[in-house]
Symmetry: C2
């Protein structure tokens, strides 16, 4: 059974690139990836912060944040 992963992004160029190269390239037998655009779904910023996300793009897997390069600070999306 695949584990849930959440890809947090803000539609920025760094985000879109990370989405295409990593988030969309994870083994579907391992992860089911939900995509969350924090610039749109601002209500989910608190949830991302709670998981330790500091910037986007980031993947949260089993509650742990994996920041991929740097697109934007979470603070800039509020």
């Amino acid at each position: 059974m695949s584990e849930k992963a959440i890809f947090y992004h803000a539609g920025c160029p760094v985000c879109v690139d990370a989405e295409r190269k990593l988030a969309d390239s994870l083994d579907p037998s391992k992860y089911e990836v939900e995509h969350v655009h924090l610039g749109v779904a601002k209500s989910r910023i608190a949830e991302a912060e709670k998981a330790g996300v500091k910037s986007v793009p980031a993947l949260v897997i089993a509650g742990q944040p994996y920041h991929i390069n740097f697109g934007a600070d979470l603070a800039a999306l509020k």
Copy 2:
């Protein structure tokens, strides 16, 4: 045909975690992942630097660096 990706690491805890959660979880139909321990294979540090790698753990896909969290500066491995 799968594209080549190189996972650069230094055996650090952040590296091992990123390896297990991301590098080893990429879709094998998309990427063939080579693992390079830069603490051991110091001769490959120049190649990583040339691809834009600043720290480990990092994946290089199609010549582009994707830094995943932060384990160690490349400079610290020389």
